[in-house]
């Protein structure tokens, strides 16, 4: 995959569609970039809050939105809120833009990889408060 290609380049490489007609100008990939980056941001917020929940008694109490569910209620709800809000904000800024794929893909992978590390118990338990 040459991820540096813009969607317009990709369409030019692909040539005409199955009908054999002329390829129309493709949609900009800004909305897709917004969805990808919002996924990474939501995941990162999940990871950061998981660590903060272990590190601070005050944050642990704040995150306990439901007594039955415990702090996981606040951690996951805030991650979903971050996902939705960042998607909306990024969509508004990027919807008409055509971005190179590579930086968007790399940024998304990096954010997701950090989130996986932050939510891994042997890592977040390093920050456990006494």
């Amino acid at each position: 995959m040459d991820s540096a290609d813009s969607p317009r380049d990709a369409a030019a490489q692909a040539g005409p569609g199955p009908s054999g007609g002329t390829a129309a100008m493709p949609k900009p990939n800004g909305p897709v970039a917004a969805a990808m980056l919002a996924t990474g941001i939501g995941a990162l917020v999940l990871g950061i809050l998981t660590v903060l929940n272990e590190a601070s008694e005050g944050i642990h109490d704040f995150l306990e939105w439901s007594e039955r569910v415990g702090p996981l209620s606040g951690v996951t709800s805030l991650a979903v809120i971050a996902f939705v809000l960042s998607w909306g904000a990024l969509y508004g800024g990027l919807r008409d833009r055509d971005l190179p794929w590579r930086p968007v893909i790399v940024a998304t992978i990096v954010l997701l990889a950090i989130a996986v590390v932050l939510t891994y118990p042997p890592f977040f338990e390093l920050f456990k408060s006494e």
């Binding site: 990709a10 692909a14 569609g17 199955p18 897709v32 969805a35 990808m36 996951t76 794929w101 893909i105």
Partner: protein
């Protein structure tokens, strides 16, 4: 033969939704992988995209319902402050404590990445629809997000099944 309320919801969360997730993944994966101009006619493309939209959207919806029922319905029973709750039973025995401290603690967090990834994959399919066949980079990105969503859900599902084998709700 009766199912208790807890057994019913554990069944819905783990088996019914898990089975649906697997089915939607198989359909979406086959559709995304083979969406190449040389393999699809124009008439076939319309039908293929309809199935792809259904498969990827279903997987995203199922992923959301699975984590919401797991966190808000089943998890409180798992963690309740009683000596017979699965969490207490696992932590009471040093030989099984890791099933909570490592397996369940990881599962309860990482599972929430699945709906985020599956939603992004479904959005790409819904956004491009038939144009996805002309944009192979977007198709590969959707495929990557889709497979990542499945991988994360598989980790959470396997850990959940293993924990349940040691102490069930």
């Amino acid at each position: 033969m009766d199912l208790s309320t807890r057994e019913f919801w554990a069944l819905i969360h783990g088996l019914v939704l898990g089975g649906g997730f697997l089915l939607a993944f198989a359909g979406g994966m086959a559709g995304l992988y083979s969406l190449k101009p040389e393999l699809v006619t124009e008439a076939g493309l319309t039908e293929r995209i309809r199935r792809l939209v259904a498969g990827t959207t279903a997987m995203a919806v199922i992923a959301w319902v699975t984590v919401i029922t797991g966190t808000w319905i089943v998890y409180p029973w798992y963690r309740e402050d009683s000596p017979t709750s699965p969490r207490s039973v696992l932590l009471d025995n040093p030989d099984t404590a890791d099933w909570h401290e490592w397996a369940f603690e990881w599962k309860e967090h990482i599972a929430w990445l699945a709906p985020l990834l599956a939603t992004a994959a479904a959005f790409i399919v819904l956004y491009y629809r038939a144009d996805l066949i002309k944009n192979q980079t977007a198709r590969k990105v959707a495929l990557g997000l889709f497979v990542a969503a499945f991988a994360v859900a598989a980790i959470a599902g396997i850990l959940g099944a293993l924990v349940t084998k040691n102490a069930s709700v």
